[in-house]
């Protein structure tokens, strides 16, 4: 599903963000990517949705490989992924429904198919009643639910979440995590970057990869040694 093989990523100005990183998130898994800020979590996610290419090594995502994929194929990969961010990244001048529909429209989906699919995912995230509200009229947790609905509407094989609860209070955080678990239970793999260890501890069965200074220091699915997460 997602496979990092000996991945190094150097940035010209800031130096190495990832060094010899290898891990494998299996189909349908729920995986955490943890570590302090600056540990390389976001860089790893960026390589996963091909916003960037590794300096060396290979990232494989759902049949696409960074060593072979062309610029033209990147949008095709993105349509198989759902991506969620800490800052939601919704279009402020469109309603919740329009924000979700947007993700289908850009893929050239038939208009008649868009409406029902949008309502289905909005219902799934519990926001069917707020479909016509604008992001500024929604709470942080609700905005993140819209973002998740948008990520789900293309039926992704994996949902990537970069600190999805970073801007949310505890109650909203619990709601979002539960939603991600439900999504995972219905078959979609989830790869979530977070530095919130409470979330991680609450899901001991999840796959856990911990990064420190750009290196993998713990991987619950490898015999990675004693440097386990605190």
């Amino acid at each position: 599903m997602i496979k990092f093989t000996d991945v190094t990523k150097d940035y010209p100005k800031t130096g190495a963000a990832l060094q010899n990183v290898s891990f494998h998130v299996k189909k349908g898994a729920f995986a955490f990517l943890t570590g302090h800020s600056g540990a390389g979590k976001s860089t790893a996610l960026k390589l996963t949705y091909l916003a960037d290419r590794p300096s060396s090594g290979e990232v494989r995502v759902s049949g696409f490989s960074t060593s072979r994929v062309t610029g033209r194929e990147v949008p095709l990969l993105r349509r198989r992924l759902g991506i969620v961010f800490q800052d939601f990244r919704l279009l402020e001048d469109r309603t919740a429904e329009e924000n979700v529909a947007f993700a289908l429209e850009v893929t050239g989906a038939r208009r008649s198919a868009i409406g029902p699919r949008v309502m289905r995912v909005l219902t799934q995230v519990g926001l069917a009643s707020k479909a016509n509200q604008y992001p500024r009229e929604l709470s942080g947790g609700e905005q993140q639910r819209v973002a998740i609905a948008r990520a789900l509407v293309n039926d992704p094989v994996v949902l990537l979440a970069d600190e999805p609860t970073g801007n949310l209070d505890e109650r909203a955080t619990r709601g979002i995590v539960q939603l991600l678990r439900d999504i995972n239970a219905s078959g979609t793999a989830v790869l979530m970057a977070t530095h919130d260890l409470d979330i991680v501890k609450a899901m001991p069965e999840a796959h856990l990869v911990e990064l420190q200074h750009g290196r993998v220091v713990y991987d619950s699915e490898e015999d990675a040694g004693p440097e386990a997460v605190a």
């Binding site: 949008p75 993105r78 919704l90 993700a103 850009v106 893929t107 293309n154």
Partner: protein, 285 residues
């Protein structure tokens, strides 16, 4: 396609101020260019009017039979540079002198014999109304045995040539400078529109929009703004021309073809400006 149209329309509706600002900026930079175009156009027309008077006159020796002159005139008419040939007889020359030179009327009235020679007046085709061709044709006319003398106002024609060269050079340089300024201003305006929507572009790409899909509404928007700006510039130019024409000097306005060309240029500028701005943006993010 309908989605592209909708997104383009939305872009105008969501940022009416910025859109109006872009159209206005484009309109004014094209207006300045249009004013310059009007000046250049009128200078060219005026020089053309003056050049119409470029004429080579061959004076015919006294006593030459009319038939000889007529045959020669037909030959001269066949020169590739020649537009028209007129044969002015001695009598016609005198009549013309009496009519045109009223202050010498008395002298012409009291004449016993006509002192004026017959002549062949040769008009050149527009592209040949210059000193080199006039001299060339004069030289050829001189070769006819019945021709006494050939005149074409050498100094005057040479001055006209010089004026034409200066006008063309200034027009080219100033026109290119104005066009460049217009392109830069329009490019910057469109870049602002692209940057204003950088977040939207980033989101479009995240959810799997192809570059072509991201680009299309911007290109259409640029085209629309360019054409609207061109239309406004045409209106402004027309207003300026109408004022000048009625209060200052008689002037010519663009032909419909030239006006359409100007609007098309506005559209192309908008389209290219957008293509460059969006292309650069897409490469950098």
């Amino acid at each position: 396609m309908s989605l592209v149209l909708r997104e383009t329309f939305l872009a105008f509706r969501r940022a009416p101020l910025l859109s109006a600002l872009s159209v206005t900026t484009i309109a004014f930079s094209l207006f300045v260019f249009g004013l310059f175009g009007l000046v250049a156009l009128n200078i060219r027309l005026t020089i053309g009017d003056v050049a119409e008077r470029v004429e080579v006159v061959a004076y015919v020796k006294r006593g030459t039979p009319v038939e000889v002159v007529t045959v020669a005139a037909a030959d001269i008419q066949a020169f590739p540079e020649v537009e028209a040939v007129a044969h002015v007889s001695e009598t016609e020359a005198l009549a013309r002198a009496r009519r045109d030179l009223r202050e010498f009327q008395d002298i012409f009235q009291d004449l016993e014999a006509n002192p004026l020679p017959a002549s062949i007046e040769v008009q050149l085709k527009p592209p040949f109304r210059n000193a080199t061709t006039a001299a060339e044709v004069a030289h050829r006319l001189q070769a006819f045995t019945f021709v006494d003398d050939v005149r074409y106002g050498r100094d005057w024609v040479e001055n006209l040539d010089r004026l034409r060269n200066v006008a063309a050079a200034v027009g080219l340089v100033v026109g290119a400078a104005f066009a460049l300024v217009a392109i830069i201003i329009i490019g910057t305006t469109i870049r602002m529109a692209v940057l204003q929507r950088a977040g939207e572009i980033a989101i479009m790409r995240l959810v799997g929009a192809t570059d072509g899909f991201v680009r299309a509404p911007f290109l259409l928007e640029g085209l629309a703004k360019g054409v609207l700006g061109g239309l406004a510039a045409l209106g402004l130019s027309y207003g300026a021309w109408a004022l000048i024409d009625s209060y200052l000097i008689r002037a010519a306005f663009f032909t419909p073809g030239q006006a359409a060309l100007g609007m098309a240029a506005g559209g192309v500028l908008g389209l290219l400006g957008s293509a460059v701005s969006v292309g650069r943006h897409l490469r950098n993010v």
